[in-house]
């Protein structure tokens, strides 16, 4: 059985869920959950004022339904619970996340997997899957864990990323990997890659494109396939290493992050 939270009509007010620890819900009563304090607009209210709370807390699983786009900060400091969101979410999904899984069956706002205010590092474990699009600063200061965005994401992807893995269904957006130190970005779309590569070289922030390492490619491909299962339709395959190249950077900060780009074999992209 799963704990089910259905968002009631909240008007225009946004609901800040960053103080909600879903891990603490496991094994507690529904009444206790309803009494949890959250912020709606500029008011402190009980969770039961904004959500219809049903289901069971016996398992570390939770479903969010209804007007979920009004929610910010879902999954803050999440450790081991699996949260499925039947809709879109606002900003700061999975901030300071340490484990567990967030599966958003819609789109999300900015700062997925980032740090909360004043914190140095963002997400440190677990997995976030966005079935739709994401806003700016996906994986900002990401420390560990993985973020999947099936659709497009806004600028400043993986800014100041420390480690971890981000898989996106689009081409690298503006200012991707700025200040990136380590970690991996995998960009599935081959759109714009040929236009992008010469500019990457000019900026001197990333290395020239080079082949992807064979064994890592195999491990990564197998892992991506496991995560995607058969639900990741419409995306090209990661199976063939020859379809991919990678860049290393951000050289400006002495980074060793890598960006895997889909490179058509017949495109004639220069490979080091």
């Amino acid at each position: 059985m799963t704990l089910e939270l259905r968002v009631l009509n909240t008007g225009d007010a946004r609901i800040d869920m960053s103080s909600v620890r879903f891990d603490r819900f496991v094994g507690t009563s529904l009444d206790q959950i309803r009494r949890t304090l959250i912020t709606r607009g500029n008011q402190l209210v009980e969770l039961g004022d904004c959500f219809e709370v049903t289901g069971s807390t016996s398992q570390p699983r939770c479903r969010l339904m209804g007007e979920t786009q009004a929610l910010d900060g879902v999954g803050s400091e999440l450790k081991h619970v699996e949260i499925v969101i039947e809709g879109s979410l606002g900003r700061h999904v999975g901030q300071d996340m340490r484990g567990g899984e967030i599966d958003v069956r819609g789109s999300v706002g900015d700062f997925v997997g980032g740090p909360s205010r004043g914190k140095r590092s963002g997400m440190r474990g677990g997995r976030i899957r966005i079935r739709g699009d994401a806003g700016r600063f996906v994986g900002y200061r990401l420390r560990r864990g993985s973020i999947f965005v099936d659709g497009h994401c806004g600028g400043s992807l993986a800014a100041e990323m420390v480690a971890g893995t981000i898989v996106v269904g689009c081409a690298p957006p503006d200012d991707f990997g700025a200040g990136m130190r380590r970690g991996t970005i995998v960009c599935f779309s081959e759109d714009l890659v040929d236009d992008l590569l010469p500019h990457v070289g000019e900026s001197q922030r990333f290395s020239a494109p080079m082949p992807v390492p064979d064994v890592m490619h195999r491990i990564l491909a197998r892992w991506v396939r496991t995560v995607q299962r058969d639900e990741y339709r419409g995306q090209p395959s990661i199976e063939r290493a020859s379809d991919w190249c990678r860049l290393l950077g951000d050289c400006v900060v002495g980074g060793m992050g890598e960006v895997w780009l889909r490179r058509r074999i017949d495109a004639g992209v220069p490979v080091q």
């Binding site: 560990r144 893995t165 380590r182 390492p213 890592m216 491990i219 197998r222 892992w223």
Partner: protein
């Protein structure tokens, strides 16, 4: 008891508690797998002086390995977890990291861990990259053919070492036939290895020696050339003895391998010079695991 007219002595094999691990070694092709595994398992016949008893458990098809390349499973046994922790990184660093195209992975789950990439990563001199995928941590160490990829660590588990049986024949040819049939049959079994060269040893040993510092020495009771001057266990027509030593992940695996080996040996050389099957023990006082031949073969 007789199998294919070969008498089976009413005695038991005495085996010991050991610590074991399994490694999965892969490479770009079968040749690199074999060459790397040969190096990794070299000088790994006996814990008496090698530190480890280590051998290839079986070859793995690309479908069976974590990276979809040809590979093999290697089992290693040591007298203690500490010794295993010392030997595995050392052998992996010198024999697998150095071999072109190879990668190495954990082949067993468990709480107690043996370091792989955890220590080998320092070879990367700061250029190594850690990657956690699906709950497993990998280290990517830049090398001259690209990257050496290895898992952070592997598990160690309690195991059994020193299961054995002795094939006694009228000549070397007959025990060679018996020995090769036995080892070939055991090779197909999971969870066991026969760590000696060709799976057999001619230097069955007893504990201690007349010389100080020798922890083991020749077992004169089974040396045909000493018959008549020592308390020999060999009769007049028994001129050659070979011993198959078996290490296994469980006592059941060792017993199964002993049974499989003895049956194969008797089938191959019974009536063709194989005169007797017996087993090595130390009176039952040293090893916790006893494998009575008649029970194992019942």
């Amino acid at each position: 008891m007789q199998i294919n007219s070969v008498p089976i002595d009413d005695t038991f094999a005495e085996a010991f508690d050991m610590k074991a691990t399994r490694l999965i070694l892969t490479a770009a092709d079968r040749q690199w797998v074999r060459e790397s595994s040969a190096a990794l398992t070299g000088f790994g016949t006996s814990v008496i002086a090698c530190g480890l008893e280590i051998a290839v458990e079986r070859e793995l098809s690309p479908e069976e390995t974590p990276d979809g390349r040809p590979g093999c499973a290697v089992l290693a046994f040591a007298v203690s977890g500490k010794e295993l922790e010392k030997q595995i990184p050392r052998r992996t660093g010198q024999c697998v990291l150095t071999c072109p195209t190879t990668a190495i992975f954990a082949g067993i789950d468990g709480e107690k861990r043996i370091p792989l990439g955890k220590t080998l990563r320092y070879f990367g001199d700061g250029f190594q990259i850690s990657k956690i995928l699906g709950g497993r941590r990998y280290w990517r160490i830049p090398v001259m053919d690209g990257e050496f990829l290895c898992e952070q660590d592997t598990a160690r588990v309690d195991a059994v070492g020193g299961g054995n049986f002795l094939m006694i024949g009228e000549d070397m040819e007959s025990v060679t036939i018996a020995c090769r049939a036995a080892v070939e049959a055991i090779r197909s079994l999971p969870d066991v290895i026969t760590p000696f060269a060709g799976g057999a040893t001619r230097s069955g040993s007893k504990v201690g020696s007349k010389y100080k510092g020798m922890v083991a020495s020749t077992n004169e009771a089974y040396c045909p050339t000493l018959r008549g001057i020592v308390d020999s266990q060999l009769s007049g027509d028994e001129h050659a003895v070979l011993e198959v030593v078996i290490d296994g992940m469980t006592a059941e695996a060792v017993a199964s391998a002993m049974r499989t080996g003895v049956l194969a040996a008797c089938d191959a050389a019974g009536g063709r010079g194989l005169l007797r099957i017996t087993a090595g023990n130390y009176g039952g006082k040293l090893g916790r695991h006893h494998f009575p031949l008649h029970e194992v073969l019942a």
